[in-house]
């Protein structure tokens, strides 16, 4: 398992452990070195003290060199030890051995001597380690007997293993203490980290308990550490968005199912009625025609639902073809002329505010449907929008159809194209009864119908404006309702202009503008 995959409490404990290992290591090493230095210094001190005492002791013996073990003073007890006795010797500057104890054995090879100061050295003797000193001394007392001074080196050595053992015990005490401390603190760190992470575990448990059916639940933000609060809050926000999206989808499915039910029951009852009725050929044909009508209506509803349910492009208009805005609008106008005549409505294309008036432009554009490409459209470069022609036709068509159908008989519908530098706006205005304020916010909702009866008669499912909005937004534009101070409704569709082209750049017919 990788280190970063370790449980947080374990890795915290591990880090604490490592940090303490380093700290305690330094500390223990320092203590050990200090002890060693101290021990060695006091050992050396006693070596020197003894070395100082040796000449006086030797001199007090007659003859200077004869040594009676038994006559050694109390401090000399260590010489009398059978095992590992201390050693001493006196050497003159020429290297002649004056006194030596014990008599057997040589001096250690290490024999560096300095006139001014004591020289310490370690050497093995038998199985033991010894430490010794060569101490420069001046023997003889000038004033007393005038024998003259004699420069000698006093050698004194003692078994150092006792000291080494003490040092070792200090080291082991340090090691054991540090190890125990490490273990305890590591365990403590683990426990504390685990306890500190408990709110996180609780949050995880709460989050895990939320199912798609219980999206209304939230993580409890109270009583959690402050630094976990952003996490909990953002999870809650995510849940909020999820819940809304779920609710929208659920509502859409319910609405869609409900809308599908009506044409479905018409279809089903039609078939069943045809089955229980006595058959005759003429009747069969009418029945089939009616059934087909139902199927067509279902088909249209399904198409509409699909348009709305299609996800919006992340990158609007990237792979979209360009469409000639004016041509499309003109085609739509032509499409709706029969409907306008049927309802005694007037349908006019008025030039936009920013445009110079072009008399008869509407008719010219309308007439160009069959021969779009060759139509003469004046000198203004035509705006092209990044949307497939189908969408443009559908958006404009839905807006105009709505205006005609909801405006009532004899309504005047004015369609205008307002061009700006970067965008083009389709304005559809009518002087019909208008819309009550409470409906204005819901008019783009799916399945919203202002009047059940009229919608049923025209076969609408309340999807027209919802489709407009979905399509317009898919192409990076927008559709909005603008309240009119006077009577009637005004819808605006704003689309971005992706490019412009002159009429002759289509390469079909080159004509200078009028």
């Amino acid at each position: 398992m990788k280190l970063r995959r370790l449980p947080l409490s374990a890795s915290i404990a591990l880090l604490v452990f490592l940090a303490e290992l380093a700290l305690l290591g330094f500390f223990a090493a320092g203590v050990y070195l200090l002890c060693e230095k101290q021990f060695l210094a006091s050992f050396d001190e006693s070596l020197r003290t003894n070395a100082m005492a040796i000449p006086a002791f030797v001199e007090s013996q007659e003859g200077g060199v004869k040594l009676e073990m038994e006559s050694l003073p109390d401090w000399g007890a260590r010489f009398r030890r059978k095992k590992d006795p201390d050693l001493f010797a006196i050497v003159d500057t020429a290297g002649t051995l004056l006194v030596k104890f014990p008599a057997s054995g040589d001096l250690p090879d290490w024999a560096e001597r300095k006139e001014k100061r004591a020289v310490f050295g370690d050497f093995p003797r038998g199985t033991r380690n010894y430490r010794g000193v060569f101490e420069p001394r001046v023997l003889g007392d000038e004033e007393e007997n005038g024998k003259g001074k004699r420069r000698v080196y006093v050698f004194y050595a003692a078994d150092r293993e006792e000291m080494d053992e003490r040092l070792a015990s200090v080291a082991s005490a340090l090691l054991w203490g540090a190890g125990l401390l490490l273990l305890v603190s590591g365990a403590l760190a683990w426990g504390i980290a685990w306890r500190g992470l408990r709110p996180l575990h609780r949050l995880a448990g709460e989050a895990a308990a939320i199912r798609e059916t219980t999206l209304d639940r939230r993580l409890s933000v109270r009583d959690i550490p402050v630094d976990l609060e952003p996490l909990a809050v953002s999870v809650n926000n995510l849940l909020e968005r999820l819940e809304k999206a779920f609710e929208r989808e659920r509502q859409f499915s319910a609405d869609a199912a409900h809308e599908l039910r009506t044409p479905l029951s018409t279809l089903k009852s039609g078939i069943q009625a045809a089955l229980v009725c006595r058959r005759d050929a003429a009747g069969d044909r009418t029945v089939l025609g009616e059934l087909l009508e139902d199927v067509l209506r279902l088909e249209k509803l399904c198409e509409s639902l699909l348009v709305i349910a299609a996800p919006n492009e992340k990158d609007p208009g990237r792979a979209m073809p360009l469409s000639d805005y004016r041509q499309c609008v003109a085609a739509v106008l032509e499409d709706f002329r029969p409907l306008a005549q049927l309802t005694d409505s007037s349908l006019t294309l008025s030039p936009g505010k920013d445009e110079p008036a072009k008399p008869g432009a509407g008719e010219d554009l309308a007439g160009s449907r069959q021969e779009k490409d060759s139509a003469d459209r004046g000198s203004t470069p035509d705006p092209l929008v990044r949307a497939d022609e189908c969408s443009v036709l559908q958006i404009a068509g839905n807006l105009i159809e709505n205006a005609i159908l909801h405006g009532g008989t004899g309504v005047e519908v004015r369609v205008g194209i307002v061009e700006e530098e970067r965008s083009v706006t389709l304005v559809v205005e009518d002087n019909g009864p208008g819309m009550p304020a409470e409906d204005q916010s819901r008019v783009f909702d799916r399945f919203f119908r202002r009047d059940q009866a009229r919608a049923r008669a025209t076969g609408g499912a309340g999807l027209g404006l919802a489709i407009c909005r979905a399509l317009a937004e898919r192409h990076g534009g927008s559709v909005r309702y603008v309240p009119r101070p006077e009577k009637g409704c005004r819808f605006e569709w704003v689309a971005e202009i992706a490019a412009r082209r002159k009429a002759h750049s289509q390469g079909l017919k080159v004509e200078p503008g009028p």
Binding site: L264, S265, S269, A453
Partner: protein, 232 residues
């Protein structure tokens, strides 16, 4: 039996009408919004009303509420796309007798209409018996004793209506009201014609009569002679 369909979806209403009229027992009227529906239900005598809920002008539940408030006892079947449990409970609580969700099955709808009529007439058995006359409302067959009798639709409709209201005096006006839909020209002598035709088929000479005429009052389908109703 006369049925009123209140349904704004014209095509659906027509289909239901076709389905119901495929049975000989029924005459059907249609209304396409709540206002018309309420008006028709109040002015005509219906045996069953099929009521949509989402209606233009007046909501279906409001129509139902007003009818019940006016004391109309006509059985009402709610036929709607709203099939949530709460909707069903509310519909029934508002005074409807049955509830059917769309899309529905025509056979089921017809069976429910027939059941509503049987229940409202207090004759839950599907086979109506008057003496040795037997009317099977399931397959619309009539037999007297061991003899099967074939009846044209309108004669069957009349006989069935009388059979559902045995031992009651049914006036000609009531018969006209319940046997014909709105578009029919109503002449009372049509009833007399059908009654005499029925008599010829059902009351052969030598057997006890079961269709009786009460002069000035109407008709009665009964095993016994209706003495107490007889006019001097």
């Amino acid at each position: 039996m006369r049925v009123l369909i209140v349904e704004d979806e014209v095509r659906l209403a027509r289909n239901i009408r076709k389905g119901i009229e495929s049975l000989p027992s029924f005459a059907v009227d249609m209304a396409h919004d709540g206002e018309d529906g309420e008006h028709m239900a109040r002015t005509n005598a219906y045996d069953v009303i099929i009521l949509d809920l989402m209606l233009p002008k007046v909501d279906g539940l409001e129509v139902l509420r007003r009818l019940r408030a006016a004391g109309r006892l006509t059985p009402v079947l709610i036929l709607t796309a709203r099939t949530a449990k709460e909707d069903i409970v509310r519909g029934l609580d508002f005074g409807s007798d049955d509830y059917l969700g769309k899309p529905f099955d025509m056979g089921e709808l017809l069976a429910r209409i027939k059941a509503l009529i049987r229940r409202s007439c207090g004759k839950p058995a599907p086979v109506l018996r008057v003496g040795d006359l037997e009317i099977n409302t399931r397959c619309h067959s009539v037999r007297r004793g061991s003899e099967a009798i074939f009846l044209p639709a309108l004669e069957y409709r009349l006989l069935e209506y009388l059979a559902f209201h045995t031992d009651q005096v049914i006036s000609k006006t009531e018969l006209l009201e319940h046997l014909y839909d709105f578009n029919w020209e109503k002449f009372s002598n049509v009833i007399e014609h059908y009654i005499s035709s029925l008599r010829r088929k059902l009351d052969p000479p030598g057997q006890p009569r079961i269709i009786h005429t009460l002069r000035g009052q109407g008709y009665i389908l009964s095993e016994q002679e209706p003495r107490n109703h007889q006019t001097p």
